[in-house]
Symmetry: C2
Subunit: 345 residues, 2 copies
């Protein structure tokens, strides 16, 4: 077998020297290098932004969507939407493991896995599109894909539906980071606590802070607050408008006996909420931005503008053992699992 | 005296509930609240992006620039450029201190200070523009400004020129954060080590890592590398293209005996270098993005794409004692001071 590089740069065709993700074209030759894994793909979960764009471009016609997906993959060697730049993930079975990795990783041929790196950097060859299921952004195919040595994946568990595991893995980085950042006794504010990643973060934060800590969840109205209250994931719930940082600060102080919090976690999917995440945190505290709608400059200049000495962290979708941590959270909280089964699959 | 709020929201006229920075209009009534400081302003240092825009709009005519600055300040109550959104900083003398702060802060009437919060949130009244000095973005005025309780400032030191202190304070957050993040024995990579913040960070990193650590500075060509070598701020220097992350990784590994670094610091002012900052860092390490050209999503998705478990930090322009830390660095390094005197004032 040919020797590959850690990050898959050996497959980049254009431009040379680039990494696979920003590359315009990569090789989807399905003969594997010594540090690659060949996957027999069952289906693609196209990123929501990408799928919406494809549907619009195709005027909602399924056949047009199929044609366009095949065109993109033939041109680029990967399913990266040229307009949105985004990809998605895939589900499949391990078909072959490169000689360098064989017996050195926890995978064997036949294992069913989800890739947790984006399709926007994953070599893919589609022989046939079997079915497009537009309401869940799913494309069933016959085909193969390659996982690089640096590529992250999760074995799909036996004890839950694939769809449930996928819904959780989609936001796996968030609760795993909360586990790392939050300590016993901390006071944690979760902004957007009623959403998918917010629920997971609240549930994890509650486990981490212990009996002396406190988790404050933010909800945008009475209905959402009642729903959050019923979960018991939060010690206190505030109803406040996330685009009004002073309101968020005041409600947080009320909920926490006049004190600022140690850590805030941004699980909102809307822009311009940086100051709402920064203001309620004490000097020396942490602001964790999981939301992709975060603006780097608004956060950086905003904190300086109010003289806040806080550590602001960019949400990394990956951290060690994030898939297992997240699936274990679902296993250990019946309440969380029930909500996910009702709302997200 | 009337009681003010910590962040100056008592002066926001429109829209209500907003903080002073995003507000369209704030009050520049110069009767101070109990937690404000009144400043007799000597001159404004307009943010470079803002000043460039003003010059263009005014076709380079000084009188037109003056008129436009007066218009903006009359409309908004602050010198926030409506096109760029940015401000700048100011130099002046303390004229009055609110009753709540009096004797509780290290300022007295007559002290010469630089405000380290943006003009984009600072109440300002201009009685007269005395002089515009376009090549250094300076506007000499007669007028007053208000510093909020949360506003940060630095007393201008007796032992150096104002212009030298200002040049350093402009990037004060960077070396102060390096002091916090870097520990003895660390291996640190400074990207953009030959620029203003890069030189300060290199100099500080070298002090922090001690004899067992190593500072690697990146320069873009032989000339810059030679200049950097002459400073002795770095143990190793690499010449590599910052928009080619694989090149940066390879050169860093070569310079560090095949090992990844503990911390990388982005002092570049150009976009799309996120992966060059992420790739050379070991799992568990830190990536510190000081550059305002950083893209939140490129960093977040990029790290996930290569499966890097690194902590990515948004450069906060403020951290405790940042002004003193930065001025002390200039005091303690004759080499750094000489470079700043030659290049930046």
């Amino acid at each position: 077998m040919k020797k590959g590089t850690l990050y898959g740069t050996h497959r980049v065709i254009e431009p040379k020297g680039s990494l696979p993700q920003p590359a315009i074209k990569i090789s989807n030759d399905m003969e594997i290098y010594d540090n690659e894994i060949l996957i027999d793909v069952d289906y693609l979960n196209i990123d929501s932004a990408s799928f919406t764009q494809l549907k619009e471009e195709a005027n909602g016609e399924i056949e047009n969507i199929k044609t366009r997906i095949l065109e993109i993959v033939n041109q680029r060697g990967k399913m990266q939407n040229p307009v949105t730049g985004s990809g998605g993930m895939l589900i499949g079975r391990v078909q072959e493991i490169g000689s360098k990795l064989f017996n050195k990783i926890d995978l064997k041929v036949g294992d069913k896995i989800a890739t947790l790196v984006s399709l926007s950097l994953t070599p893919l060859k589609i022989n046939k599109i079997k079915k497009v299921i537009p309401n869940i952004d799913r494309v069933e195919i016959e085909g193969n894909a390659i996982l690089f040595e640096s590529g992250i994946y999760a074995k799909l568990p036996e004890d839950m539906e694939d769809t449930l595991a996928l819904a959780a893995l989609d936001v796996a980085g968030a609760p795993a980071q909360v586990k790392k950042l939050v300590h016993p006794g901390d006071c944690v504010l979760i902004l957007g606590a009623t959403g998918k990643s917010g629920l997971m973060c609240s549930c994890m934060a509650k486990q981490m802070v212990g009996s002396k800590g406190i988790v404050i969840g933010q909800a945008r109205n009475e209905n959402r607050a009642q729903f959050l209250k019923d979960t018991n994931f939060c010690d206190k719930i505030i109803i406040a408008a996330v685009q009004n940082p002073v309101n968020i600060l005041e409600e947080t102080l009320k909920a926490n006996g006049g004190k600022e919090v140690d850590i805030s976690i941004n699980c909102l999917s809307i822009p311009s909420v940086e100051m709402s995440c920064i203001l309620p945190v004490k000097d020396g505290g942490i602001v964790y931005f999981f939301s992709m709608a975060t603006s780097f400059t608004k956060a950086a200049l905003g904190a300086e503008g109010v003289g806040k000495d806080v550590t602001m962290i960019i949400g990394n979708g990956y951290t060690k053992d994030h898939a297992e941590i997240t699936l274990d959270l679902l296993r250990n909280s019946k309440k969380l699992r029930t909500i996910f089964e009702e709302k997200y699959i």
